[in-house]
Amino acid sequence: MTSDEREAKLEIDTLSAWYEDNRALDGVTMTIAAREVTAIIGPSGCGKSTLIRCINRMHELVPKARMHGRVRLDGVDVYGAASDPAALRRRIGMVFQKPNPFPMMSVRDNVLSGLRLTRSIPANGLDEVVERALTQAALWDEVKDRLDRPGTSLSGGQQQRLCIARALAIEPEVLLMDEPCSALDPIATTRIEDLLHTLRTRYTIVIVTHNMQQAARVSQRTAFLLGGQLIELSETDALFTSPTDKRTEDYITGKFG
């Protein structure tokens, strides 16, 4: 294992989570390294989404949801008494399964919505923020002439990249992506995957996917979850070629899931 050589960005420590009485996560412990892409795979309902929603404290917004365990960002407990969930989420951005740009806002306003929402608008340089975020999200060339059109007027793939730009505009350190391509066609998916390769030099990325080929293409390390438990976490190449756990092997060879 080379994980100790890496700089640990996120440490998840015996994390369990419930929705009412349904246990979604069962004692997950794993480390997510800085500036690389970690993929989380597993069959539906295995707790992939719950895991990343516990990282940026979105899980607690669900009524009757609860969790137990520790998540540390740069060694600081995100559930500590001094931790502010809103401030935390500004450091840990999130992209959702379905593109969800704000329909009442233009492309430009969508990118700036995070800054406006938290009233952390820089005195000047808003145009630079918009251009930088959209360029990072590989969307600038396509939308630079229609920044004032509604965000929802874009295609599905463009909308998802707009959501990525929106998340990047507040300059997070970590980007959580919850099956960001599941609602997109293959071409739009390819564009997002290409984008991940450039983004990972600057951000720590955790991507949930049920598409194993995608995990293999975009990630450096892959975690396999089953029934709320972490079965295996290793280098992506290693996990897909020589899994150490029988259940991982069964899953990636398509015996279930």
Partner: protein, 369 residues
């Protein structure tokens, strides 16, 4: 043997005319036939009913006794025959309208409404005009105008909206965005749903006690508006909650994920997206206040006002009360005034509802997928 109706009719005719000959003529009988019928009646009863003298026919004591009740019976029978005849010639009776369920649910109510409105418009339209809108009430129907009612209604609706909107939208925001599923929230919810069904006159009594008497606002515009605000508050809350609920959860999640606090997400994302729906609901709720007269009558809004309200503490009248006043006057001219007033009220409602529809259509967002 019971007397026949025919015999009773003969008996009645003889009493009415005082002579056998005239009675026979009225009934279209020959005199002997009439005499025969009376004799049969007397035989059946076992008593003489008439003293027959040459000059006049007079009732015996038995005759008078018989007259009192038998003739009452006869007129009852006549009435019964008349009722049936009226029914069959459609002069009176219950009108039954039958229609297939779909028509009954759609066309019929509209049709009835159209007939009603048509009747009102036909009556009131000739009376409408600038004079009618700008005149004060008068004892002479042709001089009376609607101005104080119109101005009073506009002021009252404006004040009602100003009071009920902030409170109503605030309550809706609390219930939808903050309260969650707490027992307290459920209690409030049940109460709001119940309040929406309380008859408006109860609000009038409440307003009378709290605003007019306890707070000493009297029969002022302010007291009326507060009462109306209470009346529409449950509807404003329900409509606002509906609009807030229509904002997809994914919008809130996007806001939270960008680092917004609950208030920031509510204020800058949820509220703007729900605003058209809230506004539409608010206009529709407030327009209910325009048509209400009952609570204001209880509260003591004036029915004869020859001045315009100058401040929120002025006495006032509103359109429905002015119309109510005119309808209850005996002179036919005031019925025309009332019809014209109803047209003004209807136009006001249509304008408000039209605004609501335009707003809804203009700002309607396609559902976010």
């Amino acid at each position: 043997m019971k007397p026949s109706i025919r015999q009773l009719e003969c008996f009645a005719a003889v009493i009415d005319t005082g002579a056998f000959s005239r009675a026979a003529a009225r009934l279209g009988l020959s005199q002997p036939a009439l005499s025969h019928a009376i004799r049969e009646l007397e035989e059946g009863l076992g008593a003489r009913l008439f003293d027959r003298t040459t000059r006049r026919v007079e009732l015996t004591e038995a005759g008078r006794l018989f007259q009192q009740t038998a003739l009452a019976g006869l007129s009852e029978i006549d009435r019964a025959v008349g009722l049936v005849r009226d029914l069959s010639t459609l002069r009176q009776g219950v009108v039954r309208i039958a229609a297939p369920p779909l028509l009954a649910a759609t066309v019929l109510p509209v049709l009835l409404l159209v007939v009603l409105m048509g009747d009102v418009i036909a009556t009131g339209a000739p009376r409408l005009g600038w004079d009618f809108l700008t005149s004060y009430p008068s004892r002479k129907p042709e001089l009376a105008g609607i101005l104080p009612g119109l101005v009073g209604s506009v002021y009252m609706v404006t004040l009602t909206a100003a009071f009920s909107l902030p409170v109503g939208v605030g309550a809706a925001l609390y219930l939808e965005e903050y309260a969650g599923r707490s027992r307290f929230a459920t209690l409030i919810e049940v109460n709001i749903a119940n309040l929406a069904g309380v008859p408006s006159i109860i609000y009038g009594l409440l307003g009378l006690e709290i605003f007019a008497r306890t707070l000493g606002l009297g029969r002022s515009l302010l007291a009326g508006s507060f009462t109306m605000a209470l009346l529409v508050l449950p509807i404003v809350i329900l409509a606002s909650r509906e609009a807030l609920r229509a904002v997809p959860l994914s919008m809130r999640e996007a806001g939270f994920a960008l680092g917004g606090t609950r208030w920031q997400v509510t204020r800058r994302i949820v509220l703007p997206m729900a605003a058209p729906g809230i506004l539409t609901g608010a206009i529709l709720s407030v327009s209910r206040a325009i048509g209400e007269a009952a609570p204001l009558i209880v509260l003591g809004a004036l029915t004869y006002v020859d001045f315009l309200p100058t401040s929120p503490s002025s006495p006032f009248t509103v359109l429905p009360i002015q119309i109510f006043n005119w309808v209850s006057r005996p002179q036919a001219g005031f019925v025309v005034d009332a019809a014209a007033g109803i047209i003004v009220l209807m136009i006001m409602l249509l304008v408000l509802n039209g605004t609501a529809i335009v707003l809804r259509n203009r700002y309607e967002h396609r559902p976010v997928r």
